[in-house]
């Protein structure tokens, strides 16, 4: 201890000299007492520090007596100087780690120091000691305020007293209370396509090393992130009076693409919270320290070093802690159906539109560009191309879309330009109808329609340069030229198949053929019929002849009588037996009759009669009586033959 005090004196003298040097600049003198915690439990250590700033000629520095407290560590002395805004200040601090002995309220008197010959006192502090947890814990040796690990990335506040893990404190409870995520949305009930701003924030009071492990996917939304400063900057926010450091993890402009209840996915953050645990010196297990080996070197095995650097008797504990934000439900309404203009195609916000054409006089070889620019606030990045009613005679191509969106604008604003290339195909005066663009204004809750002027265009016949060019590439998509021949200009033909002439002409040969057949039939019939009649009337003819013969008999002309009778008989035979007159002979007649099985008396009588007639013809001078007999015989024979032949 003596040794230490001599060293201290030495330091004091150095300080004194420094003070002499520095005394020229009169600085504000302060002498304060600070405690880490005014209310402590009985077994909780706390730190008390006496700070003397800008003291000149510090001669003595006497701490008060800590009769109600046990000095766990100390005194430890710090000194230094700082130059701030060109002003130099120096300080001497003396700190102790104390643990209360009893429960109650205690006042620790201020420390005394002699500065520049005067005795000064620091402010007294009131400590309230409560009954602590019975949970026995390892005695901890607190460390002065230094010694928090450097942290990278988005991490918690520095030197926050919450960094200490107090005795008997539940780690999870502490983490839960001091680190959490929050999602801010500016509205939860909105129209499809309307903008929604979501901000994911990390609130912390602890030093942590955090990384985002799961970013929200924003299903059903079109998302546009706002760029955040890198490295992230903390802001301070008070919740229920407690200050938190707030880091913005993600800020996104969202445009719902569908109606219904959509959910914003949670964000997940992995934290490595570094908590400080106080470790008791007496416990003998000194904290593992990166400098331990170094200080274990015998050269440093020195109480002075130990004391001078005042290595804190602490232990760090890295606690992994995973947190998730609560999912948020967003209710998306569809845009109203009534009064929806025809040209509406999804724009929500507030827009302006301009439409221009680059020329209004051109040839069929040129191209016309119609430029439609929609600018304003809203879902600019989702605008669909307005429908252009192109008159016939123009080839329209899909529009070229260029965006000019203001960076990090909220609400999203900017412009989108649609460039339609129109290829005139037809010469003449044409009018491109007005471009119409409609959007839904969620603020006014109504549709608005913007309309441009119609564009008159005069087009002249070009020189078909394009076509000549295209001819090189096989002309697969070129029309075959018009045919310019001279077609046969007959009108729409009537169907010959339906005209009566078709059927008349079909019927005509049939009729002619029928006529011919009928005629032929008739002729044949007639020829066969004549013979039949002869046969039928042979009897009558014969009887007529016999009548004539009977007259000759009365008149006594015997020659004529026999002639007539013979003719009657032969004629009858000829007709009845169908033998031509020239072929008649007795033999033939006999054959024919026997063929018809007429024999006997008839045939005999017949031939008798024929013989009589012939004899009488060639030997005249017959008497009248014989002539009468011949006549009667002839009549009887013909009558008999008639009867026989009929069967």
């Amino acid at each position: 201890m003596m040794y230490r005090y001599s060293i201290r004196k030495c330091i004091y003298s150095i300080l004194f000299c420094l003070g002499l040097v520095a005394c020229a600049s009169a600085q504000e003198f302060r002498f304060t007492t600070t405690v880490s915690n005014n209310t402590v439990t009985q077994d909780e250590p706390f730190q008390i520090q006496f700070m003397l700033e800008n003291g000149v000629n510090v001669a003595s520095f006497t701490p008060p007596s800590f009769k109600d407290f046990e000095v766990l560590q100390g005194p430890s002395q710090m000194q230094g100087q700082s130059i701030f805004n060109g002003k130099r200040s120096e300080y001497i601090a003396l700190s102790y780690l104390l643990q209360p002995k009893h429960v109650g309220s205690f006042t620790i008197a201020g420390a005394q120091a002699r500065v520049n010959g005067n005795i000064v006192k620091s402010n007294p502090v009131l400590i309230e000691v409560r009954k602590g947890n019975a949970q026995p814990q390892q005695q901890q040796s607190p460390s002065p305020s230094a010694g928090f690990p450097p942290h990278r990335g988005q991490s918690g506040g520095e030197d926050l007293p919450e960094g200490f893990l107090k005795k008997g404190e539940d780690i999870n409870e502490k983490l839960k209370k001091n680190i959490f995520l929050k999602v801010d949305v500016d509205k939860t009930n909105l129209y499809e396509g309307e903008q929604l701003t979501a901000t994911y924030k990390l609130y912390t009071r602890l030093p942590t090393n955090s990384s985002v492990t799961k970013v929200p996917a924003f299903k059903g939304f079109s998302a546009k992130d706002i760029e955040l400063p890198n490295p992230p900057q903390a802001t301070e926010e008070r919740i229920n009076g407690i200050p938190y450091k707030v880091f913005t993890i993600r800020k996104t402009l969202l445009f719902p693409l569908q109606s219904g209840t959509l959910e914003l996915d949670p964000v997940e953050v992995d934290n490595q919270v570094r908590l400080v645990k106080l470790v008791s010196k007496k416990g003998g297990n000194r904290p593992k320290d990166p400098f331990e080996d170094f200080f274990n070197d015998p050269a440093f095995k020195d109480p002075f070093f130990d004391d001078f650097f005042n290595r804190p008797e602490t232990e760090y504990q890295d606690v992994p802690y995973k947190i998730q934000s609560a999912p948020i439900k967003i209710n998306v309404k569809p845009v109203p159906v009534e009064d929806r203009p025809v040209s509406y195609n999804g724009a929500v916000g507030k827009f302006n539109m301009t439409a221009v054409i680059d020329k209004n006089k051109l040839t069929t070889d040129d191209a016309l560009t119609l430029k439609v620019t929609v600018s304003g606030q809203g879902n600019v990045n989702l605008l669909n191309s307005p429908k252009i009613e192109v008159p016939t005679g123009f080839d329209k191509y899909d529009p070229k879309v260029t965006d000019n969106i203001e960076k990090n604008s909220n609400p999203l604003s900017g412009s989108r330009t649609f460039e339609y290339v129109l290829m005139p195909q037809e010469a003449g005066d044409h009018t491109i109808p007005a471009v119409e663009f409609s959007y839904f204004d969620p603020v006014a809750n109504s549709y608005k329609t913007l309309r441009s002027q119609p564009f008159p265009v005069h087009i002249e016949q070009g020189k078909h340069i394009k076509q000549d060019k295209q001819d090189f590439s096989a002309g697969k998509n070129e029309l075959v030229r018009n045919s310019t021949g001279i077609p046969d200009w007959t009108r729409n033909h009537s169907w010959f198949l339906l005209s009566p002439w078709f059927y008349i002409l079909l019927l005509l040969p049939v009729l002619i053929a029928a006529g011919l057949i009928f005629y032929k039939r008739r002729k044949d019939y007639n020829t066969t019929n004549a013979a039949m009649l002869k046969h039928r009337y042979a009897n009558k003819v014969a009887l007529k002849r016999l009548e004539l013969a009977a007259r000759y008999l009365k008149e006594g002309k015997d020659k004529a009588f026999y002639e007539e009778t013979s003719r009657a008989v032969w004629g009858y035979l000829s007709s009845k037996l169908k033998i031509p007159m020239a072929d008649l002979s007795k033999q033939l007649v006999q054959d024919k009759l026997s063929a018809r099985s007429i024999n006997g008396s008839n045939t005999h009588d017949l031939f008798n009669l024929i013989d009589n007639c012939e004899v009488a013809l060639y030997a005249p001078g017959q008497d009248n009586r014989k002539m009468q007999g011949t006549y009667e015989q002839a009549v009887t024979i013909i009558t008999n033959l008639e009867g026989a032949l009929k069967n």
Partner: protein
């Protein structure tokens, strides 16, 4: 004489009216060939809509020449009326189904049809049938029918009644004539029926929703684009049931279809 300017204008109006009527009469009187050439002229000046209208006038007057349909199709195509273009090409193709130029231009026009489905190519015997159908003009078959009928009857008469012609060669000739007569009659009837068959048509409006039933409020089945060739399988007073080449069925208003 205060009225003078009025009377003058009145006479002018009369004169103008007369000239208009006369010129109208002249245009109607000018021969189809002249108007055809005039339309071709308009076409080569890139005035496609006017050219198409002139062709259309000729068609409306009852001229049914393949060249006319073809040029009208070209003009409508150039004027951007794809439905009309395809209609005219199809008509030209009906008149001469193997015309390479018409086929080529129809294929180009069909490229612009939304959702165009190519029809299956004809099987060889369908090709033959088509070629046979176009062996003669429509009335050629009917005339042939009459001709062969006369020859057949004459042959039969000769064979049966004239003793000198009674031989088996003539008899076989008669059989052949009979077969030819039957064929020509069949083809005459067939060509008549096919050319009066209006069971297919071209859709003339774009973006039409075909419905599942003949009712404006029924569910949409699919969309048909302008220029699509459809087969009409059924029809009510307002709605036609259409079938696409790929077998899709739906009902659309008959007003959208121009029957071939």
């Amino acid at each position: 004489m205060r009225n003078y300017p009025h009377t003058k204008s009145f006479f002018l109006a009369i004169a103008w009216l007369l000239t208009a009527i006369v010129s109208q009469a002249q245009t109607t009187q000018s021969s189809p060939q002249q108007r055809f050439e005039q339309a071709n002229q308009l076409f080569s000046q890139s005035k496609y809509t006017e050219a198409a209208k002139t062709y259309q006038q000729l068609l409306d007057e009852g001229h049914t020449q393949k060249e006319l349909y073809f040029n009208a199709g070209n003009a409508w195509y150039k004027a951007g009326k794809n439905g009309q273009a395809i209609y005219n090409y199809e008509k030209a193709l009906q008149l001469s189904p193997n015309d390479a130029a018409v086929k080529h231009n129809l294929a180009i026009a069909n490229q612009k049809v939304n959702g165009f489905v190519e029809e299956l190519p004809l099987v060889f015997f369908q090709q033959w049938w088509l070629q046979l159908q176009h062996l003669h003009k429509a009335n050629g078959w009917a005339i042939g029918t009459v001709l062969f009928w006369w020859l057949l009857i004459a042959g039969i008469l000769l064979n049966t009644y004239v003793p000198g012609w009674k031989n088996k060669f003539l008899r076989w000739g008669n059989y052949a004539l009979g077969a030819l007569f039957a064929l020509y009659l069949l083809m005459a009837v067939d060509t008549y029926l096919t050319s009066n068959n209006h069971q297919s048509g071209i859709v003339m409006n774009s973006n039409i929703k075909a419905k599942t039933s003949p009712d404006e409020n029924s569910r949409d089945a699919f969309e048909v684009g302008e220029g699509m060739k459809v087969h009409i399988t059924d029809a009510t007073a307002d709605f036609c049931k259409i079938e696409l080449a790929d077998g899709k069925n739906g009902w659309i208003s008959c007003a959208y279809i121009k029957r071939l």
